[in-house]
């Protein structure tokens, strides 16, 4: 198990406090928790791709990083106007 995989596992565990905020917090807190978790997942995907030596899997963090902006703005727009 390389340091990259260990770092990915620790980051996954570190998502728990933010996940609790997402589930149990107010609506605005949940949006902040969602943004944090989606940001960290981009790094976790990159770490796992490097840790397992699969360069082809680096496409996933790139795609998620691009979708991060659109997805975040959808939730922010919903928070601002519709909810």
């Amino acid at each position: 198990m390389t340091a990259f995989v260990i770092a990915a596992i620790v980051m996954l565990v570190a998502l728990v406090p933010a996940g609790v905020t997402l589930v149990r917090g107010e609506l605005a807190d949940s949006v902040v928790g969602y943004e944090f978790i989606s940001t960290v997942i981009v790094m976790i995907l990159a770490l796992l791709a490097e840790g397992f030596g699969r360069p082809g899997l680096f496409e996933f963090p790139v795609i998620l990083a691009v979708l991060l902006f659109g997805g975040g703005l959808v939730f922010v727009r919903a928070l601002e106007g519709w909810l």
């Binding site: 107010e26 944090f36 680096f58 991060l68």
Partner: protein, 96 residues
């Protein structure tokens, strides 16, 4: 050997940044205060992870893809945080 040590140190710093940010999000009161802890995880930690990949792999496709993801995250994160803060402040009754 030295390359592995540098890689491990960079990954440890990135992980520490994410852990502390996550705790900050859970502990701080109010969404606006929590939002401050998204930025280190969205800007500092990806830079450290990208550096770790670069130190291990050198200039290759893995590093290039990581840099592309990093550029997107660093470019997008401030706009997203700004939009989120505007939405939070637009909501009546939200803690600020």
């Amino acid at each position: 050997m030295i390359r592995e040590v540098v890689t491990d140190a960079l990954l440890a710093l990135a992980t520490l940044t994410v852990v502390l940010s996550s705790v900050g999000i859970a502990v701080m009161p109010g969404a606006a205060a929590k939002l401050h802890y998204v930025t280190p995880a969205a800007v500092v930690a990806p830079v450290l992870v990208t550096l770790a990949v670069f130190v291990r792999e050198g200039l290759d496709s893995s590093t290039g893809m990581t840099v592309i993801a990093l550029v997107f995250m660093v470019a997008v994160s401030p706009y997203l945080s700004h939009a989120t803060l505007r939405a939070i402040r637009a909501r009546p009754g939200e803690r600020r």
